[in-house]
Amino acid sequence: MNKLIYISGLTLVLFAGGCAKEFLDREPISELTEGNFFKTRADAEAALVAAYDALQSEYYIFDRFINGDVIADNCYAGGDNPNNFQLDEFKVTPINQNVERDWRYLYEGISRASAVLDNVANMTSSDLSEARKQEILGEAAALRAMHYFQLVNLWGGVPLVLKKVNSTDPREVNLPRASVQEVYNAIITDLEFALSRVSASYPQGEQRITIAAVHAMLAKAFAHQPTPNWSQVLVHTTAITDNLTYQLTNTFDQLWDGQNENSRESIFEVQYIGGTNEANWGPQLWLPPNLTGDNWRKFNTPSNNLIAAFDAAGDVVRKNSSITFRSNLPWSDPKFPSGSIPFPFKQRLANGWSSPNNFILLRLADVILLQAEAKNEQNDLDGARTDLNSIRTRVNLPATNASNKDEMRDAIMLERRLELAFEGHRWFDLKRSGKAVAAMNAINSNYQVDENKLLWPIPQTEMDRNPNLVQNSGY
């Protein structure tokens, strides 16, 4: 009897030992791993969807408009957030929370795109056709270029991370800053890679990255790089303007009335569905209380300077489409002593933080004005005038009276401001024109803008984490 007990006890111990390995092999249940992802076409598509999803980050919903319009002369910070005031008033420090989070959002987007580029290229799944595989790679490369374009405009040269990081080894993660031109070169490389791979259009009108979108991004990259390459800008803008698929909408207001999303003017537009997790929470931040249901002071208040610019140009159509005024508000704004306070009006439905409004990242009017600029810089004044007037005609403005290259340059820049207000372009345009310092100091001498303030500081958290970074001068 006793022996039996010992034998069974012994067996128990040994049996348990034999099973231990299997007992301890535990796989994640609610997550995928490097080992079991990127096996099928659905995996590749899901990774690409996540790369698109980066365009719904706070950066593209909110911060891009602060960076494009509030820092520039189009908007005041509004709201209550000292970080936004710092940005508006050129008092940015390395611990500004927007500066910190924007760096994070953009690089996270880059990581998602790189995950696709690194892994899908090696996939051999039979359900993934070679054509679709190449499209996926192209879409991901273009998305990565889009984030780098934002980074290089905000910070100048940044670390170029062109592979998904799979190690915590300091030699791999502590990358130094590349030069501005190196970043543009990487952007152009990614976009040219994409150009030969993405489709002219996608089935069912899916708003993915198309050939036209890549052309538009290339045009912008060549225009924004330290020494613009106007002939390349012209090549890529013409590729779009020659394509009859893209036409200006009949009226300017059709772009913003919520009835004509993904219009024939739209080249690339971030997609939202109201009332779901895929909704746009941005409009709640800047629309007036009667459209949002709350009564706090809103962000991104259009500036007197912009309103004056609309008025001086006699631009009633675009002013009325772009700005809405409200009085008798629960707060007062010393900038508007009359009590009638303006609000941006290009995304018009708040829907309780859950708006269906898409927003347009790239559209034909932007491309036509870039084309005009390229023609003007290459001394094709008439070509530039034709392009510029095509934009003005739609909004019932007379033909431009610019009569020489300099006047034309200024006229196009003003046109861009009025046409593209609150679309996140103004600050980058001002900077590449070389007029940012003068323009901002002219508005408010307290800004004390100098060349250093045209770039943001590298976030302090990033400086603390990566010893190979050198801070921008002035911070």
């Binding site: 006793n2 006890g9 111990v13 996540a50 760096w103 915590t168 993660v173 997609q271 708040a350 984490r465």
Partner: protein
């Protein structure tokens, strides 16, 4: 490993088969408590054959004429052998030495303990209005720092046994209830506790290997005693209050502050005093209350020859001092054991509990709806409600008032939990016992949140929000041990070996809806927009071998060797197993011949131990490179699933290892009336599991690595003294004091820095760097207000002409120089008084609440201190000017906000009146008592905030001692009765 166990078992078999024939047997127990006595030396005369009693007090010997029983702390007992089965009782002389100390997988007599183990009795816990087991350890054990970092009733606490060993793998000890390791102590009823043992050194805790680096807290619940059945009823009720209020500005002063702050920033004044003549609201009065507390206990215990039981039900209700917050616990305990045969015993211990929390938001500022900072920051010039029933907001910035943030959201957490085991003890042979137990811990937890669709702005903008989240986990544990106990002449050997397997499956769900028609139906079916529905699951497993050999020679020389091999699913295949050995020796000098004559010393023991433990408390799948779902995007109106990279893999991930040595002395003198225990130790932790911050350019915020080392070293002293022992007057004192020094030795190079403790808009406040203690505060050095412009001048520490982030340095240390506890128990006739003082000395607190109340950079109300602010050139003051936007960053993290957090606190005072025996008899009671108790009723401190025992970041290892609108501590008064029938 298999080989080891085969050999071990073979040895056991041989040893057992050579055992001798039994002639006389019996049990030895304490004459007063009936507790079995372990290790009583028994000699048969004539012939001097001897043995010792086993862990159940049993013995057996070849028969003879008479027996001599010797046991330290008990009177020698001699008696003739008249029967073959004897039941013997010994009279205690010094109870401390003979108390049974629970150790991992067994128990020992206190005098045989060679590791560092503190015992805390569960006596009288039902008289104190405490909600958690951890409260019972406050101030009671040297080397154990209990920080009740929030005053929320029932809130978790932070326990540090000999300092923090880890940056990110957790620093809380392992809790084991009646042999079942548990996730946390929530739901356990303090009144059910018989004793708590804290295993502090590696020798004591190594048997728990991979989870014991932060010490082990063994909780033993009450058990029935054979032959004495008792029904016990205790009930108490009382009141709790906030200990103090902070002085804030009134309406007139607020208006002056705001207008001045706008004027100083070059803007127009914002407020006209004539518009605000109605209100002068004290928001602290509006959120705090005198809160009711009650506690009811009913228990029955007893037993017969063969079985023992303890049953209890309890209900505790503690309203929070902040309105709408509170804690309720209802629990049932069932402990039972029975001897089925002479060599077979079965039993079980089970606790079922329901815990409900009603939460209010704290630890955040008014901008995010924090209630405490909301009460301090909201301006006094508004009332609570608008005419339409909505809540008022700051007229300059539409932050909700704090009452809105208390009343409008409903935030309830409801947890059901069962913890328990069933076990079988099998006496295989005379000296060999097999024990198998099967334990479970299971809980389900549901959090309901609802924000009214009308009353607050945020609620209105989304037409109400409802969320439901549930979590459930089931952990089972199978433990099988063999214990062999034997005495050969003066050699006493106990050998334990075992195998355990543990497995967890965790699941959670989350759902959110918006668009509610009203505030009446708060469940999600009423929400018109279903925003989110998700569920997730995880799992882990642990497989371990454990062993211990104890050897005692002649009651003088003690040796313990422990070993545990743990395999964890959380680590990569290459590093899955780790081995945790420990050894300790003890020398009872007082038993030596040369000490016989030294009457002054009753008992003296030296102890030395060394060993290693581990920490595996990281994510279940931290070694994998993971992709997370849910990064969805919609194309053409269809929402498509997206999957993103979420963590960097690390296949080489391995255990954190903590090596520790300990040397101690136990000394009993003055006729057993004075007992000293002193220990000195050093703990070295290496291969820290650190979630190392990565450059964000990687696309990740951090990646987990084994990197670096932390050292803790310290000394501890505990004194127990019986000052007065008289028939009608007894006075005993417990005193303990301990000091721990913590140093981060390595986190990847002298230049490597980890920041923590982020304060909104002021940045990080804590630095982790080699050579510094964990949690060191980091910031600027304030040199005072510039009389010219009213801005603070910060020291240019590197003298480069500019003050920037390079001019920060260590400005404080939240780790105390020492902690101490001082308890007294005085009984005088029918009265009994318990008084416990607790002290923490030398720790700094970052009073970040003052960053909110003294920044004067926004439209928040200021503290009364801001009245001393700079106003005109030439003003000499410590308080800078008020200026909207704070261009000079006067409110940056600086030593301006560092305060001394030392305190001496009257933690508990309880006065009991025991009804006279005559009255008790008349009422047919075994015992009856009336008691009044006060918790936290007096504190001596220089700290200017609500309370220096505080931490916004809870049990965080890196950020400690941060006060940022944290729920304040309460002062409690209760009174109650207790009857034993």
């Amino acid at each position: 490993m298999k080989l080891f166990f085969t050999l071990f078992l073979t040895l056991l078999i041989y040893a057992t088969l050579s055992a001798q024939q039994v002639n006389v047997s019996g049990t030895v127990s304490d004459a007063q408590t009936n507790e079995p006595l372990i290790g009583v030396a028994i000699t048969v005369l004539p012939g001097k054959i001897g043995t010792v009693t086993d862990i159940n007090g049993n013995f057996s010997l070849p028969t003879g004429d008479s027996l001599v029983l010797r046991y330290v702390g008990y009177a020698e007992l001699r008696m003739a052998i008249t029967r073959r089965n004897l039941r013997l009782q010994m009279e205690p002389t010094a109870a401390e030495l003979t108390e049974v100390v629970v150790i991992g997988y067994g128990s020992q007599s206190r005098r045989d303990v060679t590791g560092s183990v503190v015992s805390v009795s569960g006596k009288d816990l039902e008289k104190k209005p405490i909600t958690r087991i951890e409260n019972a350890l406050q101030g009671q054990a040297a080397g154990v720092q209990v920080t009740q970092y929030s005053g929320k009733p029932g809130n978790t606490m932070s326990i540090r046994v000999r300092g923090a060993t880890s940056l990110s793998a957790g620093n809380e000890p392992l809790y084991v209830v009646d042999g079942v390791p548990i996730l946390n102590t929530e739901g356990l009823n303090p009144a059910d506790i018989s004793s708590i043992e804290v295993l502090k050194d590696a020798s004591a805790s190594a048997i728990y290997g991979a989870r014991a680096a932060n010490g082990v807290v063994l909780i033993t619940t009450k058990r029935g005693t054979a032959g004495r059945s008792t029904i016990s009823f205790a009930s108490s009720a009382g009141i709790s209050q906030v200990t103090r209020q902070l002085d804030m500005l009134n309406t007139a002063d607020y208006i002056a502050l705001i207008n001045e702050s706008y004027t100083n920033s070059g803007q127009q004044p914002r407020l006209n005093p004539e518009d605000y003549t109605v209100y002068n609201t004290n928001w602290q009065d509006e959120i705090y209350r005198d809160a009711a507390t009650s506690n009811h206990q009913l228990s029955a215990q007893g037993g017969s020859e063969n079985s023992r039981y303890f049953l209890s039900i309890n209900r505790q209700n503690q309203d929070g001092i902040v309105r709408e917050s509170g804690y309720k616990r209802t629990g049932v305990r069932f402990n039972f054991s029975s001897d089925l045969r002479k060599n077979i015993a079965v039993g079980s211990n089970f606790n079922l509990s329901n815990v409900r929390f009603a939460a209010v938001p704290d630890n955040s500022r008014v901008n995010q709806g924090g209630v405490i900072l909301g009460a301090l920051s909201s301006p006094p010039l508004i009332g609570i409600y608008n005419e339409d029933g909505t809540y008022t907001t700051n007229p300059l910035q539409s932050w909700e008032n704090p009452v809105a943030n208390i009343e409008a959201p409903i935030d309830n957490v409801n947890t059901n939990r069962v913890v328990g085991n069933v076990f079988l003890d099998l006496g295989l042979l005379k000296n060999l016992k097999f024990k198998t137990s099967f334990g479970i811990e299971a809980y389900n937890n549901k959090n309901d949140y609802f924000l009214d669709p009308f009353r607050t702005q945020f609620g209105r903008s989304l037409q109400g929000i409802g969320t439901v989240s549930t979590n459930q986990e089931l952990i089972w544990l199978s433990e099988n041990t063999l214990t062999y106990q034997r005495q050969f002449k003066q050699h006493h050997i106990t050998v334990l070996g075992g195998v355990t397997a543990q497995e967890s499956r965790y699941e959670g769900t989350f759902a959110r809806a918006e668009g509610f028609p009203n505030g009446t139906v708060t469940s999600l079916n009423a929400g018109s927009r279903k925003i989110e529905a998700s569920s997730f699951a995880s799992q882990w497993a642990l497989f371990s071998y454990l062993g211990r050999a104890s050897y005692k020679f002649n009651e003088k020389y003690l040796v313990d060797v422990n070993f545990r091999a743990d395999g964890s699913s959380r680590f990569g295949a290459n590093h899955r197993y780790s081995y945790f050995p420990s050894a300790s020796v003890g020398w009872r000098i007082s038993e030596e011949g040369f000490m016989r004559g030294v009457k002054a010393i009753n008992d003296m023991k030296l102890r030395v131990s060394v060993g290693t433990n581990g920490n595996q408390n990281i994510g279940d799948f931290a070694s994998y490179g993971l992709y997370a779902t849910g990064s969805n995007y919609n194309l053409n109106g269809v929402i498509l699933p997206g999957t993103r990279p979420s963590s960097i893999g690390n296949a080489d991930l391995r255990w954190e290892t903590t090596s520790q040595w300990n040397a101690g002395i136990d000394l009993t003198i003055a006729d057993y009336r004075l007992n000293f225990t002193a220990d000195i130790y050093q703990k070295n932790t290496r291969d820290l599991l650190i979630n190392v911050d990565l450059p964000q350019s990687t696309g990740f915020s951090s990646g987990i690595q084994n990197l670096g080392a932390i050292r803790n070293s310290g000394v501890e002293l505990a004194v127990r003294s019986k000052n007065v022992i008289r028939p009608k007057f007894n006075w005993s004192t417990n005193f303990n004091i301990s000091a721990n020094r913590n140093e981060v030795e390595n986190i990847g190079g002298p230049d490597k820095i980890i920041f923590a403790g982020n304060i909104p808009e002021s940045g990080f406040s804590v630095i982790v760097q080699e050579g510094l203690p964990l949690g060191a505060f980091y910031g600027f050095v304030n040199q005072g207000v510039n009389p010219e412009n009213g801005d603070l001048v910060f020291a240019d520490l590197n003298a480069d002409g500019v003050v920037n982030d390079d001019d920060r340095r260590v400005i404080g240390d939240p780790n105390p120089d020492f902690i101490a506890g001082f308890g007294n128990n005085i009984s005088w006739g029918n009265f009994e008084l318990d008084v416990l003082f607790q002290a923490v000395y030398g720790n700094d607190v970052l009073n970040a609440t003052r960053i909110e109340t003294e920044a004067m950079n926004s439209v928040k109300n200021g503290s009364a201190e801001t009245l001393t602010r700079w106003r005109n050139p030439g003003d000499i003051t410590r308080m800078p000017r008020a200026v909207f936007g704070d261009p000079n960053r006067n409110a940056r993290i600086s030593d301006r906000f560092i305060e001394d957090g030392s305190y001496l606190r009257l933690r508990n005072i309880t006065l009991t009146y025991n009804l006279p025996a005559v009255a008790q008899k008349r009422m047919r009671l075994q015992q009856a008592a009336l008691f009044v108790s006060g918790q936290n009723i007096w504190t001596l401190t220089n700290y200017s905030g609500y309370d220096p025992e505080v931490n916004r970041d809870g049990g965080s290892s890196t950020s400690q001692g941060i006060d940022y609108g944290t729920y304040p501590q309460a002062r409690l008064f209760t009174g109650g009765i207790r009857f034993d029938f």
